[in-house]
Amino acid sequence: MSEPAPDLRVKLGALELSNPVMVASGTFGYGPEYANLVDIDRLGALVVKGIRMQPTTGNSTPRAVEVASGMINAIGLPGPGVEGFIETYIPFLETHTVPVIVNIWGCTIEEYGEVAARLDQVDRVDALELNVSCPNIKQGSTMFGTHPEMVEQVVRHVRERTRKTIIPKLAPNVADVPRFAQICEGAGADAISLINSVPAMAIDIETRRPMLANTTGGLTGPAIHPIAVKQVWEAAGAVSIPVIGMGGIVSAKEAIEFMIAGATAVAVGTANFSDPTVSLDVIDGIAEYLSRHGMRSVNELIGSIDLRKG
């Protein structure tokens, strides 16, 4: 007699996911790119590449460079703009059932609001992730997401323009992640996600030129996982809204670490490039772990860290 399969369902605000494993923005295109290799409807949610109001070109090449246990990218948020996105990708997404989260950004606070208001009218969009933390987009010399007031205003403004679930995505290069998490909660966020890529740089020592056309970029992949676990743990301890953990997931192990630290859901990023079906393996691995540990619901795993002193 086999045990019933564990319950993997989790909630992000009003949005219920069939399982906690999403794919991270910018690493899975808009859906069709991987649809021939992956049964995308098995995913907890699909987070599409960052979208702003206008079509955007992005950075020059080289846009990425491989480093120890990771890569640095400076794509520069190219995209078709919100209307282009709706026109080109919503018809495809309508042939699928996976929850869709649109990652949005803007050059002004107002632009975030405009994009949110436009997507509020699109039924197929389930939630908005607010990217205030892309290392390749700046406000003065530092990014939007490192200024508490800016983050608060963006979240508040978007909150006024949409009833959909909103998920600010925090910057990792701040000293006090809990403070930013609390600001987002206070400003009306339904959940928060972290971490975005970590500002980084590589230089070709033979030419003495930066490896990226944009000079600097964002580090992702296994290298940043331990940094992400700490920030997710801190953030989850500081707020009562759900936290979505990401950074360096390559198997169920890292995803489970995030959930033990307090994440309600997780997102797989860079690992999609080397193994397109890794997210499905992560779902199966979490289910297997829950069964093995006698847990009937994934909610028993979330925040189950044992901090007793040895």
Binding site: Y34, E66, G70, F273, S274
Partner: protein, 275 residues
């Protein structure tokens, strides 16, 4: 040209290595049993390989398909960097994760009066399926630093292609860049406009072919090499500047080498300043 054919055929497979050996100079051939992919390959397409034992490196590497039949697919490579050096340790019977076939390759089904292939490095392998697929045979110009960089001559001669070789050190064929031999050849033709180029090799070679195609009003299909992340169009790492078709003032947009490419017609490409 840009159908979604490759898209439909794309699969992730575990390929079993059936052969792995030195073929020419430092170049090795890696042959894998992977029928579903091998059968679907079009000339100029590539596969994205996960290289075992790559230590702390996390990305796949793209390789043009050298040969493909109903069961086997092979690629040709030279150990130059981290990935290709690690590849040399692959053994027969090892399993390798492979995604393919990927990208839009060379057009080969139309009538080409005078097909001219121009190849450098692994391009000599990448163009072999093009030569096989074209309705009539033609001339292939191969360029390299020295004799050890000239590959696949027998293969092309076996299918009746005229092989012209140029090496920078003169150790095989004409001395100098491949373009010298190419220019001579084209100058000797009654109608240069009959020539249609199919090129794969270093950027400088592609650009040289592009210049000639523009000057002589010829078509030139160029296979571009860009560092890749996903290989399937999702990450936007591999982009190439492409001229807006309607624009008269040099407007351009990015296309993905892994998806819309790697083959572009010479007039489409907007070259970077340092290329």
């Amino acid at each position: 040209m840009k159908t979604d054919l490759s898209k439909r055929a794309m699969r992730a497979e575990r390929a079993v290595v059936t052969r792995h050996e030195l073929l020419y100079g430092e170049y090795r051939v890696l042959q894998m049993h992977v029928p579903a992919v091998a059968r679907a390959v079009q000339p100029g397409q590539f596969v994205h390989l996960e290289i075992p034992g790559l230590d702390d490196a996390i990305l796949r590497r793209p390789f043009s398909v050298f040969k493909a039949d109903d069961a086997m697919l092979s690629v040709l490579y030279k150990p130059v960097g981290k990935g290709t050096r690690a590849m040399t340790s692959i053994r027969v019977d090892d399993e390798i994760s492979l995604i393919g076939p990927l990208g839009h390759g060379f057009p080969t089904s139309h009538d080409v009066a005078k097909p001219v292939l121009v190849a450098g490095g692994y391009g000599m392998a990448a163009l072999y399926l093009v030569a096989c697929a074209l309705k009539s045979s033609g001339t292939i110009f191969m360029g390299g630093r020295s004799a050890g960089d000239i590959l696949c001559v027998d293969e092309f001669e076996a299918i009746d292609w005229d092989v012209r070789i140029a090496t920078e050190d003169g150790s095989r064929g004409t001395r100098g860049f491949v373009t010298v031999a190419l220019d001579e050849y084209v100058a000797g033709l009654p109608d240069a406009r009959e020539v249609e180029y199919f090129a794969c090799g270093p950027n400088a070679m592609l650009k040289a072919v592009c210049d000639r195609a523009l000057a002589n009003d010829q078509k030139a299909w160029l296979s571009v090499d860009r560092h890749m992340g996903c290989g399937v169009g999702a990450c936007l790492v591999c982009v190439q500047r492409i001229r807006d078709p309607e624009s008269r003032n040099g407007d351009w947009h990015w296309e993905r080498v892994c998806s819309e490419g790697p083959v572009f017609e010479s007039r489409e490409i907007v070259w970077d300043d340092d290329e």
